[in-house]
C-alpha cells in the first residue's frame, strides 16, 4: 500500500467510524446512547434488529459499489464510466422483477428467497453473456492494438438495454396492481426493513467481488498507458476481463439482489477519492470501497431523518445527489480541472 492510498483510506475509514455509530442512533426514533440500551427494550430491539443490519448492509453495498466504480473507471480509462455499463445491474433487476411473476407459483420455503435468488441468477446470466462475448471479442489473437475494450463495453450496454426493455415489458404486463407497485418500488433501491438475512446474502458475495477487483488493480494501472502498452507490460487482457466480470458481477449483482438499483455511487465515489491519491486505479479501489460505504450510509441516514410522509427511496435520493454532481463534474472536466 503506497502512501497516497494510505492517506485516502485513513480519511474515509475515520469518516466511516464516525458515521456508523451515528447512523445507529439516527432515525424516526432517536436513541440516546447515554440512556443505555438495557433500560428501554424497544430501543435495543430497534438497534439490533433494524438499525444494525441496515447500517451493515449500507456499508457492504456502498463498499462494493464504490470499489466496482473505481475498477470500472480504471478499466475503461474514463472518469465517466459507471459499473452499470456492464449491464449487470439491469440484468439483476430483470431477475428480481421476474421473481414477482414466478414467486407466487414457487413452493413456500423457496418463495421467501425468490427475489434475491432470481436477481443473482440475472446477474449470473449477465456475467455469463459478458464472458461469452469477451471470449469472442478477445479471442482473435491478432486483434492487436486496441478497440477491444470499447467493443466489449458496447456489448455490455446492449445487455443493459435489452434487460431494460424486458423489465419495462414485465412492468406493463404486471399481473396485478400490487405487483406493479412492488416492482416500481423495488427498482428504486432502498435499505428499508432489511434484516440480517440480506446481510448474510450480500456480505460474502460483495467481499469476494472486492477481492477479485483488488487482484485486478495492478493490471488496471498498466492500462493507464493504453491497451497495447499494457499488453507489452505483460497484462493478460483476457485474465483481466475475467477478474472484472467476476468482481463487478458479484458486487453489483449482490447489491441489486438485496437492495434494488442504487445508482451513481460507483460513478461519484472515485472522484471524491482520486484527488487524495496518486490517481492510479490501484490506489483507488480500497479507499473507494470505504468512501462508497460512507456515502450510502450517509444517504440512508438522510432518507430516514428527512421529514417525508413516506420514506424517500435511497435509490432516488442518491440519484438526486448524483445527477447534479455529475453535471458539475462535466463542467469541471471541460475546464480541464479533473
Amino acid at each position: 500500500m503506497n502512501l497516497a492510498m494510505k492517506r485516502a483510506s485513513i480519511v474515509f475509514a475515520v469518516l466511516l467510524a464516525v458515521l456508523f455509530p451515528l447512523s445507529l442512533l439516527a432515525g424516526r426514533v432517536w436513541i440516546d446512547p447515554l440512556a443505555g440500551t438495557t433500560t428501554t427494550p424497544s430501543a435495543a430491539l430497534i438497534l439490533m434488529e433494524l438499525r444494525l443490519p441496515r447500517a451493515v448492509l449500507a456499508v457492504v453495498i456502498g463498499g462494493g459499489l464504490g470499489a466496482a466504480g473505481a475498477a470500472m473507471q480504471g478499466y475503461l480509462r474514463n472518469p465517466l464510466a459507471d459499473p452499470g455499463l456492464f449491464g449487470i445491474a439491469p440484468m439483476a433487476a430483470l431477475g428480481a422483477v421476474a421473481s414477482f411473476w414466478f414467486g407466487a407459483i414457487l413452493p413456500q420455503p423457496f418463495a421467501a428467497w425468490s427475489l434475491p435468488v432470481f436477481a443473482l441468477i440475472g446477474a449470473g446470466l449477465a456475467m455469463g453473456l459478458l464472458a461469452l462475448i469477451a471470449g469472442r471479442s478477445l479471442g482473435d489473437g491478432a486483434a492487436g492494438a486496441g478497440g477491444s475494450i470499447a467493443l466489449f463495453t458496447l456489448a455490455g450496454l446492449m445487455i443493459a438495454s435489452l434487460a431494460g426493455a424486458l423489465t419495462a415489458l414485465a412492468i406493463t404486463m404486471a399481473p396485478n396492481a400490487f405487483a406493479l407497485s412492488q416492482i416500481v418500488m423495488w427498482l428504486n433501491g432502498a435499505l428499508t426493513d432489511r434484516s440480517w438475512n440480506e446481510v448474510w446474502i450480500a456480505a460474502p458475495l460483495v467481499t469476494a467481488g472486492v477481492v477479485a477487483l483488488a487482484l485486478a488493480a495492478r493490471s488496471l494501472d498498466a492500462l493507464t498507458l493504453g491497451e497495447a502498452a499494457a499488453r507489452s507490460l505483460g497484462v493478460d487482457p483476457r485474465g483481466l476481463l475475467w477478474l472484472l466480470i467476476a468482481g463487478i458481477g458479484l458486487t453489483v449483482g449482490a447489491s441489486v439482489a438485496v437492495a434494488g438499483i442504487i445508482g451513481f455511487v460507483g460513478l461519484i465515489v472515485p472522484h471524491l477519492v482520486r484527488p487524495l491519491t496518486d490517481r492510479l486505479p490501484s490506489s483507488l479501489i480500497l479507499p473507494s470501497a470505504l468512501a462508497g460505504a460512507c456515502l450510502v450510509l450517509a444517504a440512508d441516514m438522510a432518507v430516514r431523518i428527512l421529514p417525508f410522509v413516506t420514506e424517500l427511496r435511497l435509490g432516488i435520493a442518491l440519484s438526486l445527489i448524483g445527477a447534479p454532481f455529475f453535471l458539475w463534474l462535466l463542467l469541471r472536466m471541460r475546464k480541464g480541472l479533473v
Binding site: 503506497n2 480509462r77 474514463n78 489473437g141 491478432a142 492487436g144 492494438a145 495492478r218 494501472d221 498498466a222 492500462l223 493507464t224 498507458l225 493504453g226 497495447a228 502498452a229 499488453r231 507489452s232 507490460l233 505483460g234 497484462v235 493478460d236 496518486d278 490517481r279 492510479l280 486505479p281 480541464g336 479533473v338
Partner: protein, 252 residues
C-alpha cells in the same frame, strides 16, 4: 547478448496481410530504424517483434527462443514497447508514470525497483519534474516521461513506434540522443522513423518497408539510397552533405 530476429513472418490485421514473409536479424547495441511510406507495415513489424501481434506464418525469436513460447511476463521484462502517441489516461505524477515500467518485475516498492525508476528519471533528465502531474508537461517532456517508463523496465530491447512524431527539432535530437545512449549501453533499439534524415544520420541500420515487404536493409547509406527512396515513396530525392550530417533534397 540477446538478438531479436524475425523468420519469414507474415502478419494479418483485420484479415488483410500487412507483412509478407519478412526476415531480419537485429543485434543488441545498435539502433535500427524502420522506414517506409504510410501503410507499409512499420507499426505491424514493431508490434510483431514486441510479441503484440502474432505472425500468421513464421516466427519471432528472442535470443534464439520463439517469442510465442516465452511467458508474457518474461517477454515484458526483456522488451520495452513504446506505442505511437502519448496517451496517458490519468493525471498521475511523472514518477508514478515511470514506475509503471516496473509492472512486469513486480518490485515497484522494493529497493531494486525504486533504483531502476531513479536511474530512468535521471537518464531522461526528469529528476526535477518527478512530482509534476503529466497534464502539466510540454510535449517534449511528456515524450521523455513515456520513454523513461520504458527505460525503468531495464529491457534488453526497446521498440518504439514513431517516438519522434509531434516533437520539435530540438526535442527530436534529444530523444535520439537518449536512444543512442541506450544502444551504447548495450540495449537493442528499434525505432519507426518518418524522418529519413534522422534515420540516415543517427541509425546504425535501416529497414525499408513498402506494401508489407522489406525492400532494403543495411547501413543507412545503402538502405536509403535514392533508388530505394524512389521505389518506396515514389519521390525523386538526393542526399547532400557529409556522413552524420546528411540532408535529403527532393525534386518533384
Amino acid at each position: 547478448m540477446k538478438t531479436l530476429s524475425a523468420q519469414n513472418i507474415s502478419v494479418l490485421r483485420g484479415g488483410k496481410r500487412v507483412l509478407h514473409s519478412l526476415t531480419t536479424r537485429l543485434e543488441p547495441g545498435t539502433v535500427t530504424a524502420i522506414c517506409g511510406p504510410n501503410g507499409a507495415g512499420k507499426s505491424s513489424l514493431v508490434m510483431a517483434l514486441a510479441g503484440l501481434l502474432e505472425p500468421k506464418e513464421g516466427r519471432v525469436l528472442l535470443a534464439d527462443a520463439p517469442l510465442c513460447g516465452i511467458s508474457a511476463r518474461e517477454r515484458a521484462c526483456a522488451q520495452g514497447y513504446l506505442p505511437q502517441g502519448s496517451d496517458i489516461a490519468w493525471n498521475v505524477s511523472v514518477q508514478s508514470l515511470v514506475g509503471l515500467g516496473r509492472y512486469p518485475h513486480r518490485d515497484g516498492a522494493s529497493e531494486q525497483g525504486r533504483g531502476a525508476v531513479e536511474s530512468a528519471l535521471a537518464a531522461a533528465q526528469l529528476e526535477e519534474l518527478r512530482d509534476r502531474p503529466v497534464s502539466s508537461l510540454s510535449g517534449g517532456e511528456r515524450a521523455r516521461a513515456l520513454l523513461a517508463r520504458v527505460l525503468a523496465g531495464q529491457p534488453d530491447w526497446i521498440l518504439a513506434d514513431e517516438p519522434l512524431a509531434a516533437l520539435d527539432l530540438a526535442h527530436q535530437l534529444k530523444m535520439i540522443a537518449h536512444f543512442r545512449s541506450c544502444a551504447g549501453a548495450g540495449q537493442g533499439v528499434v525505432l519507426v522513423l518518418h524522418d529519413l534524415a534522422i534515420a540516415m544520420n543517427h541509425a546504425d541500420r535501416v529497414i525499408v518497408l513498402s506494401e508489407g515487404e522489406k525492400i532494403a536493409e543495411g547501413d543507412p547509406v545503402t538502405a536509403l539510397e535514392p533508388s530505394i527512396i524512389a521505389r518506396a515513396w515514389g519521390v525523386e530525392a538526393d542526399w547532400l552533405g557529409a556522413k552524420g550530417a546528411r540532408a535529403l533534397i527532393t525534386r518533384n
